[in-house]
């Protein structure tokens, strides 16, 4: 083969674009991964415990045992993602060595480094990172993230924070597109974001990488809401396997994501799904339990 290149930014964001319009589901074993694939998930996120259980059980949440990740990789043909702790580049190297297709440097796990995130340019495998606003999104993209997602508030089954974060990102992008060139350096300073990326977003009216929703999505209507607010795909964590009928709910959330602009289809998908996950009021969470405040 003539001078093949691997790990280019185009290959990384390219895989993220292939997932657009779809649903990425958290799974903890091979059986759940097969249920997700059967339900038309575009990818699965392999982890040891879903965020709701991490929240409940406490302690330090780390990268999953490699044997769990490998069992899930053997079980399905769709891409497999896995989470490393913020700043834990050794966990990231392990996941890359295992051959996962995407790494989520995730606030759901206990951060390993309070000052620095992983230098994602140094990897062949693509990374996704969470964000609460445009500045945070562009800082992660500047570090090499090929995909951003809202942080939301994972493990709550409450979509309110994902909505807040998606609206913040989308309206800041719209605002940038209205600014004159001389205003962009000031804006970069205020956002705490790399100037070149700010210029690019102002020019294109969109992020240079896809923008997905995550954190608290529990129902087909939640998925449709996030897509309508500008998400290109959705991650569902605890929402599926903490519900009373995971297979049916998984299919329904996929259908609502694909047909988000068609209320009849979303209504049809929402019918008779049994109990959703119980859910938590985010406003009542003590500050230390808000996962979205991990990372910067």
């Amino acid at each position: 083969m003539t001078e093949a290149e691997t790990g280019t930014l185009r290959l990384k964001t390219g895989l993220a674009e292939m997932l657009a319009g779809g649903v990425i589901m958290d799974v903890t074993d091979a059986a759940q991964a097969r249920i997700a694939e059967e339900a038309s998930a575009v990818a699965v996120m392999a982890l040891e415990r879903v965020p709701a259980d991490i929240r409940k059980e406490g302690g330090v949440a780390r990268m999953a045992d490699p044997s769990i990740v490998e069992a899930i990789m053997r079980a399905v043909t769709i891409p497999v993602m896995a989470k490393c702790r913020i700043g834990h580049f050794a966990e990231a190297r392990i996941l890359e060595a295992l051959g996962v297709d995407f790494i989520d440097e995730s606030e759901v796990l206990t951060p390993a480094d309070e000052a620095y995130h992983v230098d994602k340019h140094a990897f062949t495998v693509p990374f996704v990172c969470g964000c609460r606003d445009l500045g945070e999104a562009l800082r992660r993209i500047g570090e090499g993230a090929a995909l951003v997602r809202t942080k939301g508030e994972a493990g709550t089954g409450n979509v309110v924070e994902a909505v807040r974060h998606m609206r913040a990102v989308v309206s800041a992008i719209r605002r940038l597109a209205t600014l004159g060139p001389e205003e962009l350096m000031r804006e970069a300073k205020d956002l705490g974001a790399p100037y070149e990326l700010v210029r690019r977003v102002a020019r294109d009216g969109r992020l240079p990488v896809p923008n997905f929703a995550a954190g608290g999505i529990a129902t087909p209507a939640d998925a449709a809401l996030m897509m309508a607010l500008g998400a290109e795909a959705v991650f569902v964590g605890s929402g599926i396997f903490k519900s009373s009928d995971p297979a049916a709910r998984a299919r329904a959330i996929v259908k609502a994501t694909t047909h988000h602009a068609d209320p009849q289809a979303v209504a049809e998908a929402s019918r008779g799904l049994g109990e959703p996950m119980r859910g938590l009021d985010v406003a009542a969470l003590p500050a230390g339990e808000r996962l979205q405040e991990r990372g910067w």
Partner: protein
């Protein structure tokens, strides 16, 4: 041809990238999510994505028959990556497909994402080489006599044409290369 009505299958995948290229060429583009959306189209892009997820999303409606009828009635098709898998006669490991391209295709044939690669492709029928962006790409392991090979990588076909069907195992839409989309608009 500007003003042509072109659809992009938008159930899942990189349909937005295809739509951007087609709009820049002056085409009127619509996203296809339901069978009724095929009405009045002259050409259709089957984008990259996850072919298994795409197939399952087509469950519950006679998509494969409708797409074969679209082709039979004169519609032109361009499939990239997962779209090429959908077009093939036979898929390995086995899964349903349209059979509009006399070829056997092997899914994820180059490995996982860390093996995804870019490479220069010899494309003698075009004015210049192509940048092949291969993402968890499939491989065409056999092609029939009616299939014309338009680009190769290390001697293997990666871009083929059979009548009104164009199929690439890579992603021209990721390399800002609009030449295949121009071919599609010329045919549709």
């Amino acid at each position: 041809m500007s003003g042509a009505r072109v659809g992009v299958l938008a159930l899942q995948g990189d349909f937005a990238a295809h739509a951007r290229i087609l709009r820049a060429l002056g085409a009127e583009v619509s996203e296809v999510r339901r069978l009724a959306d095929l009405e009045g189209l002259r050409a259709l892009v089957l984008p990259g994505g996850e072919s298994t997820a795409l197939l399952r999303l087509m469950d519950g409606a006679p998509w494969l028959d409708a797409l074969r009828a679209f082709h039979a009635e004169g519609g032109a098709l361009l499939g990239t990556c997962a779209g090429a898998i959908l077009l093939a006669r036979e898929v390995q490991p086995p899964q349903p497909s349209l059979g509009l391209l006399d070829a056997v295709v092997e899914r994820n044939a180059y490995g996982r994402q860390t093996e995804s690669f870019e490479a220069e492709l010899a494309a003698p029928t075009f004015d210049a080489p192509m940048r092949g962006v291969f993402i968890r790409a499939p491989r065409l392991t056999a092609t029939g006599p009616a299939v014309e090979v338009l680009a190769r990588l290390s001697g293997e076909p990666v871009l083929v044409r059979q009548g009104r069907v164009l199929a690439a195992t890579f992603h021209p839409e990721m390399a800002a290369d609009d030449r295949l989309h121009r071919c599609l608009l010329d045919q549709g």
